[in-house]
Amino acid sequence: MLKATWKRLPLSTNFAIAQAVKDSDVDVVSAYPITPQTTVVERISEFIANGELKAEMIHVESEHSAMSAAIGASALGARAFTATASQGLELMHELLHIASGLRLPIVMSVAARALSAPISIWGDYTDVMNVRDTSWITLIASTAQEAYDSVIQAYRIAEDPRVFLPVIVAYDGYAMSHTYEPVYVSEKSDAFKDYIPKNPQWYTLNPEKPLTMGSMASPEWYYEFKYQQVVAMKNAFGVVKEADEEYGKRYERKYGIIEEEGVDGSDVTFVTYGGIYGTLKESIEELRKKGEQIGLARIRLFRPFPSEIVADLAEKTKALVVLDRAITFGVNISGPVAREIISSLYARGIERNVYSFIIGVGQRTVTEKDIAAIYGKVKEMLGSHERQKESIYWGVRE
């Protein structure tokens, strides 16, 4: 088994992603620049230009074409990568369904960003949540290190014959994409070649063995193909776990499906995703010093959603507070992850108060003070046995 030796580098998450693309020995990269993703692809083109990565870089005129090219490349059996954010992800939207419908193991990084209008180039998770129904496996990283490791894991997951679905690796636009922090990256680029061997098992276009892709499915056929995706998503859950554990065995870093800390026996557990978890962690440490029994958890795998693990988590605590960085409009509980959690508890018949808070929309600042104040508000509601009827839009000005 090839073990990696590591070098510790100061990298932004964007650069960590680019490094992971190089270390995954990707064959084709097609992308269109968009803030805050652009430096991912800039760095990859440097790797290609200086010979560190042997790959084809396809410069396209839009994200729609970027995904189209990735689909074409993957359909030929190439290991394909693209990166985007926000409006770019939206422009790709119809192709996202095609990539997953054709069962092509493309990996894409998304520097999560708000959507226009009004124009915001800043971070939140509206873009990622908007594509939750496209049948892409979705991992959300909370550090540059995890983003690096997750891209490599993503190819193992996507290319697994039980899955054959594309994977998004998402992370905070700006708050992570542009923040430098220490990251261990492999000293050698071939450290992962046994972990993600190149052996395309998915259907590929090959004149020696002709087949038709993208045919029409009439009403008596279409449903079965969608059900195949339902099953692949279910399978993905186990495969994500295996890929992470195997990575842990080989490379001594693993993350699990949900990261949790101090949940057992806590009065309240905070649940969130992405980079804000770090801020939450330090805030909760301060609150614990004052004797508060608070747990915290981070959803690392958003699709397939880990309903069972969430239900297990809920059983260990008395109430859940979910911090969402996106709004699903027109419903009372408007935090996308809060809604998933509530339905997970319902399915298992678990009665817990779930408090949904909307924070950090369009990169509205969230500090330790906000977390402490949210905790105060939750304690108040718990004291009055109040069930939450509507998400709380934290910090919005009247």
């Binding site: 510790r8 580098l9 800043w122 708050a175 923040t179 430098y180 922090e181 220490p182 770090g278």
Partner: protein
């Protein structure tokens, strides 16, 4: 030395405040410390006041919340209004400022008796070496002298990672010059 230092950089677009913040973090990380550096997430326009942030710590840094109460503010451009750079500066914190004014003038400008003040004429150091008033690396040299957050060796490495050899060498010359010339005045 405390466990974690939080530094806020104040410059104008084009002076390299963001790069300065990143260089210190890079060097600290190469020294084996933990660090985080990020720009103010706003529009970057030449001439507009720019903020950048650096956290350096002996232990892992998890929080990504912006620095509201910095331990140190580094002022690349003395014409920036002091209400901007002194905002939230910790009691007993430090101001490192690029200036050619006299110590007394600087003291009365800042007007806070609790903060330590260090001065360096970064503009002239940069002009001497680069023939250009890009003062960021001079301020980096001043910072690491006053507060040993990163070694000069690691800074040299970080400079070579960021720039081509010629520019990196010139900037390292600036770092060392400023490291020698910076003075604490109270």
């Amino acid at each position: 030395m405390q466990e974690r230092y939080e530094i806020r950089w104040h410059g104008r677009g084009g002076q390299g405040a963001v790069t300065a913040g990143v260089l210190v973090a890079e060097a600290a990380i190469l020294d084996g410390k933990y660090a985080q550096a990020y720009p103010e997430f706003g529009a970057e326009r030449r001439g507009a006041p720019v903020k950048a942030y650096t956290k350096v710590s002996e232990k892992p840094i998890y929080s990504r919340s912006p620095i509201i109460n910095p331990d140190v503010v580094v002022v690349l451009d003395p014409s920036i209004n002091k209400s901007i750079y002194l905002d939230g500066l910790k009691e007993g914190g430090m101001v490192i400022i690029n200036t050619s004014k006299s110590n007394e003038e600087v003291k009365s400008l800042i007007g806070r008796s609790d903060v330590k003040i260090a001065v360096v004429d970064a503009t002239h150091i940069a002009l001497d070496v680069l023939k250009s008033a890009i003062v960021n690396t001079a301020m980096v040299g001043a910072l690491v002298k006053v507060l040993p957050l990163a070694t000069l060796d690691s800074l040299e490495k970080a400079l070579h990672e960021t720039f081509n050899k010629k520019i990196a060498d010139l900037n390292y010359q600036i770092v060392k010059a400023s490291y020698e010339k910076v003075k604490t005045i109270n």
